[in-house]
Structures are given as structure tokens and as C-alpha cells.
């Protein structure tokens, strides 16, 4: 069953066609990577999926329901979580508080003026479990703004996970990281995919990361879907090599 179905989506900004007639299906449990040269429309495509703005034409189906016109927070409520190229966190709160807000919203407590002791305990357990999943359990009481870049990314991913998403969108999760941190985050994403069976779509620049992680790779170029396939197929594809891998490698 497909978690996400994107049908012939186009996005225009004035005369510029940022995304042109792109279709993509993502099956449950799949990890799909989107690559492409700068300006290929990757981030615009991501913003269409997560609801920053509606597409000019085409539609998006999530968990069997058309979400093309839904707002961002409604998509999140239906189970779509994302992280950003530049980490978006609550810097002056602790790691624990960051993830707790997420768990409270996901638990339907966001409008509640109080919570009972047992509810608080349940949330506490969820937060601790999530922090363990991203190996941040030892840093729960640190301010997120003071953590290293890789740990901030892990905290951001933990916030997404605490929403109990059916689909995880990761926008360049290793952007701006050194080798050590890239490795740490890659291992984390790999664990989420292989061990916890999350359905993941990610944009990534680092080819080692992409070929290491993805079940399927989609290549965008000038707003068009140039090719889709397994890492082997993409590596062997001559059009892709000409457009992208050739001058990148």
C-alpha cells in the first residue's frame, strides 16, 4: 500500500516553473531519496508535500486521502512529520522539553489547561523512549541550543518521531556536517528505517549517504523527474550521469 501518492504535481512562481508534472509513489516502509543539482526544485517539491503552499496543478494523496488543499498542521495531525535543512528546534528549551511539546501535541493535549499525573507519566515515558531511539537519553536536560550540530539534528528528528508519524520527511539531514556527524546521523536514519520501519522521504546532497541508505532514488532536474530507480539503476543511468553525477563526481 502506498503511504504517499503524488500525481502530476506542478508548481509555478510567476514565470518560473519550479516543479513540472512530477509524480511519485512511496510505499509503506520504503526509504526514498530525492537528489538533483542545485535549483532542481527539490525543496519546492518537499514544501508541496508538507503543505507550505498548494501546487498549481496536480494532487497529493496521503494514507488514501487527498490532502492537496490541507494546511500544514492538518497534514501533521494526519501523520506527516518533517525536519528542515537548517535545524528547526526550540533552542532555549531542554531536549526533554522540546520532545515533550511534540508528544503533548500528538497526544491531543495541546489545548488542555492541565494534565493528570498519570497522563504526565505516560508522556514522560514516550519522551524517554523517543530520546533513547535517537541516543539522546543522556542529554535530556541540556538546552538544545547548546548541543553540537549532529545532536541538534537528532533532537529535531526525535521531535518528529514523537508525533508518531506515518511518513517522515527529512530535508538534507546531513547538511553542513562533518564526517563524524554525517556518519552519526546516517546511522540514526538507517536504524529508523531498518529497525523501526519508518517510511522516509529524504532530500540529500551527500551521494555516499544516498547510495548507502535509500531503497529508491528519484532524480529531479530543472523541476522535472529525470529518473527513478534502485541505487544500482540510477548509478547505471546515462541521462542521470550526464545531468548530475557526471559533473558532481
Amino acid at each position: 500500500m502506498n503511504v504517499l501518492e503524488i500525481n502530476n504535481v506542478t508548481k509555478r512562481f510567476g514565470n518560473l516553473v519550479a516543479v513540472r508534472d512530477v509524480s511519485l509513489n512511496v510505499a509503506k516502509g520504503e526509504m526514498c531519496a530525492i537528489i538533483g543539482p542545485n535549483g532542481a526544485g527539490k525543496t519546492t517539491f518537499f514544501n508541496l508535500i508538507s503543505g507550505f503552499f498548494p501546487p498549481t496543478s496536480g494532487n497529493i494523496v496521503f494514507d488514501g486521502r487527498d490532502i492537496t488543499r490541507l494546511s500544514t498542521h492538518e497534514r501533521v495531525t494526519r501523520g506527516m512529520a518533517r525536519t528542515f535543512q537548517i535545524t528547526e528546534i526550540f533552542p532555549e528549551l531542554t531536549v526533554f522539553e522540546n520532545v515533550r511539546i511534540s508528544a503533548e501535541v500528538a497526544g491531543g493535549y495541546r489545548l488542555r489547561p492541565w494534565i493528570s499525573r498519570s497522563e504526565a507519566a505516560k508522556l514522560h515515558a514516550i519522551v524517554e523512549g523517543t530520546l533513547k531511539l535517537v541516543s539522546l537519553e543522556g542529554k535530556a536536560d541540556r538546552l538544545v541550543g547548546e548541543l553540537a550540530h549532529g545532536d541538534q539534528r537528532a533532537a529535531e528528528i526525535a521531535m518528529a518521531l514523537a508525533l508518531k508519524p506515518h511518513l517522515l520527511l527529512l530535508d538534507e539531514p546531513t547538511a553542513g556536517m562533518g564526517d563524524q556527524e554525517t556518519f552519526q546521523v546516517t546511522q540514526l536514519i538507517r536504524r529508523l528505517h531498518r529497525e523501526s520501519n519508518y517510511t522516509i522521504v529524504l532530500i540529500e546532497h551527500d551521494m555516499r549517504v544516498v547510495f548507502h541508505l535509500a531503497d529508491r532514488i528519484c532524480v529531479l532536474d530543472q523541476g522535472r523527474m529525470l529518473a527513478q530507480g534502485t541505487p544500482q539503476e540510477i548509478a547505471a543511468n546515462e541521462t542521470v550521469q550526464a545531468a548530475y553525477l557526471g559533473n558532481a563526481a
Binding site: S50, S71, T72, H73, V76, T77, A81, R82, F84, E88, I89, F90, P91, E92, L93, E97, R100, I101, S102, E104, V105, A106, Y109, R110, L111, R112, P113, W114, I115, M159, L163
Partner: protein, 317 residues
């Protein structure tokens, strides 16, 4: 209990002890009880502004409108409806809160400077209504001809009109109720979504928080608190004045909040205390008292960007 929690409890106990004993230590220091009452009421208003500014991260520059509406609501109730202080407080709060709730639906569509500008604009609308509608509000002369009424407890009546101490404790009781409600909300899951919006609006949105709706709720709550403070202010003066709705009054509240420390719960109360005491003292010496308060404000913002209380907390830690 951790050392941090104990420290917080001690500070809280000290604040409440100082407030409870204010009539006894203020007079020997050269103050008077009515001054403490003003500090409480204006402090409550500054705390209401800060409920939005410091904890939701949106700056309203027109909050005096809801303060003034609360004052007129209370005054008009006492003058035309019924000689009941509690009813005056409730209706004053409702008038400020309901107007805030309605206008809030329009205001929360904007952010940053535009949010501040729209709040000023709506605030001035109420100012001119109060200014022009002389037959109801008394226009520029203000609303007169009412006074706070004794509180009837059935068995006895509490005289809050002639006894400054009784009135102070009545206001302190009201202050405690509202401050308690604010603290309770800030510690709730809803309060944490407010802080989430302040910290990072985009992240909050992508956690599934409908940001506009939450800002609207915070705005509305803050207008109810503001209306309540305004109603108390009408009781303090037995008078309501269109200048209480003017944007310069809004600016004073923002100043108190920022000077005291907008990230701390009690900061605005301290800011209000400094403002009111300086005003009381300096205005007896010079008509240009505001330039001295302004100078202090500039110094605080330059050297203690977290406000006076933020500075005290920082140096203690």
C-alpha cells in the same frame, strides 16, 4: 526536591510576603498604601501584556484599549447598572475580553511589526470612541460619578472605599487570583505551545500546532486579564479616563514589562513598581518626569537586556 526548586519556592515566598506586608513596610519607607495598590493594578496589566510578549512572543502595542475598556465597563456598571463591586469587575473584564476576542480574529493574521501596527490601530479606534461619545463616557473629562462599593459578605460588609488597607488587600486578593490563573495556564500543555510558538513558529506549525488559533487564544486570555486589571484601575481612581486607552498607555505597559524582564513571570510587576514609584516621586519634583523614566529604560535595555529581574536572576545563578 532539588536546590533549584527550593530556591524558586523561597523567592516565591519572599514575593508574597513582601506583597502581603506592603502596607506595613511601605509607610515607614516614605510611601503610602494607595501607591502599593497602583503598583499591583498596573503590574497586573503589565503581566497581561507580557503573557503575550514574553510567553507567546507577539508584541501588542494596543493593549491599553482592553485595559481602558475594562475601566469603562466597571465604571459604567457602577454608575448605571448596580452598586456592586464584584459585578463591576466581572463586566469590566468581559468587555475588555470579548472585544479582544473579536478583534483578535483579525489581528492574529499578522506578525511582527504588522501585528503591533494593527493592535495600535484598533486600540486608537477605542480611544476615539471613548473620547467622542461624551454622553456615555464623559468624553475628554472622563467618566465620573461612581465609586467602589463595600463588598457584602452577608454577615458583614468590607469597607474598601475609606480604608486604604482594606482596599489594598481586596486588590491583592484579585491580583492573586489572576496571577494564579496566568501561572497555571503557563505551566499547562497549552502554555507550553505558547512558548513553542515564541521559540520557533515554523517548528511549532510543523508539530501540528495551528499557530494562528493558539495565538488568538493567548491574545484573548490576555485581553480578559487586561480588562480585569482595567476594571480594578477604575476602582482605584473612582474614575475612568480615555487616556487609559491611548497607545501611549500601551507603551507604558510594554515599557514596564521590558524594564522588569519579559522572560520572567514576575518581571513586569517589578517594572511596574519601578515605573509607578519613580512617577510618584519625580512628578512631584518636575513635570518632565518621563524623561528620567525613559533614561532609566534606555539604560536597562542597553545594559540588562533581560530586564531588571532577568539581571538579578542571572547574577544569582
Amino acid at each position: 526536591m532539588s536546590a533549584e526548586q527550593i530556591r524558586k519556592l523561597v523567592v516565591l515566598a519572599a514575593i508574597w510576603a513582601a506583597l502581603l506586608l506592603a502596607p506595613y513596610w511601605m509607610v515607614p519607607l516614605g510611601g503610602y498604601t494607595a501607591l502599593a495598590t497602583r503598583v499591583l493594578v498596573l503590574g497586573l496589566a503589565a503581566m497581561s501584556v507580557n503573557f503575550l510578549l514574553g510567553f507567546t512572543g507577539v508584541l501588542s502595542f494596543g493593549h491599553a484599549a482592553y485595559f481602558g475598556l475594562g475601566a469603562y465597563g466597571a465604571g459604567l456598571t457602577l454608575k448605571f447598572l448596580a452598586a456592586s463591586t464584584p459585578l463591576a469587575l466581572v463586566l469590566g473584564m468581559l468587555l475588555g475580553g470579548v472585544c479582544g476576542a473579536i478583534l483578535g480574529t483579525l489581528i492574529v493574521r499578522r506578525r511582527g511589526v504588522y501585528f503591533a501596527m494593527v493592535t495600535i490601530a484598533f486600540g486608537q479606534v477605542f480611544y476615539y470612541i471613548a473620547f467622542q461619545w461624551s454622553s456615555l463616557t464623559g468624553g475628554d473629562d472622563g467618566l465620573r460619578g461612581f465609586s467602589r462599593q463595600p463588598i457584602d459578605f452577608g454577615l458583614f460588609k468590607l469597607d474598601i472605599l475609606s480604608s486604604a488597607n482594606n482596599f489594598y488587600y481586596f486588590v491583592l486578593f484579585c491580583f492573586a487570583l489572576v496571577a494564579g490563573a496566568m501561572a497555571f495556564i503557563l505551566r499547562s500543555p497549552f502554555g507550553r505551545t505558547m512558548i513553542a510558538i515564541r521559540e520557533n513558529e515554523r517548528r511549532a506549525r510543523f508539530l501540528g500546532i495551528p499557530v494562528e488559533r493558539h495565538i488568538w487564544i493567548a491574545f484573548t486570555l490576555s485581553c480578559f486579564f487586561m480588562g480585569f486589571a482595567g476594571a480594578l484601575y477604575a476602582l482605584v481612581n473612582n474614575f475612568a479616563d480615555p487616556r487609559g486607552l491611548h497607545y501611549s498607555q500601551s507603551g507604558d505597559f510594554v515599557m514596564m514589562a521590558v524594564m522588569g524582564g519579559m522572560r520572567s513571570f514576575w518581571g513586569p510587576l517589578l517594572g511596574a513598581a519601578v515605573f509607578v514609584v519613580l512617577q510618584d516621586y519625580l512628578s512631584s519634583i518636575t513635570v518632565n518626569w518621563m524623561s528620567f523614566v525613559g533614561l532609566l529604560f534606555v539604560l536597562v535595555v542597553l545594559f540588562f537586556p533581560r530586564g531588571l529581574l532577568g539581571f538579578l536572576q542571572r547574577s544569582k545563578a
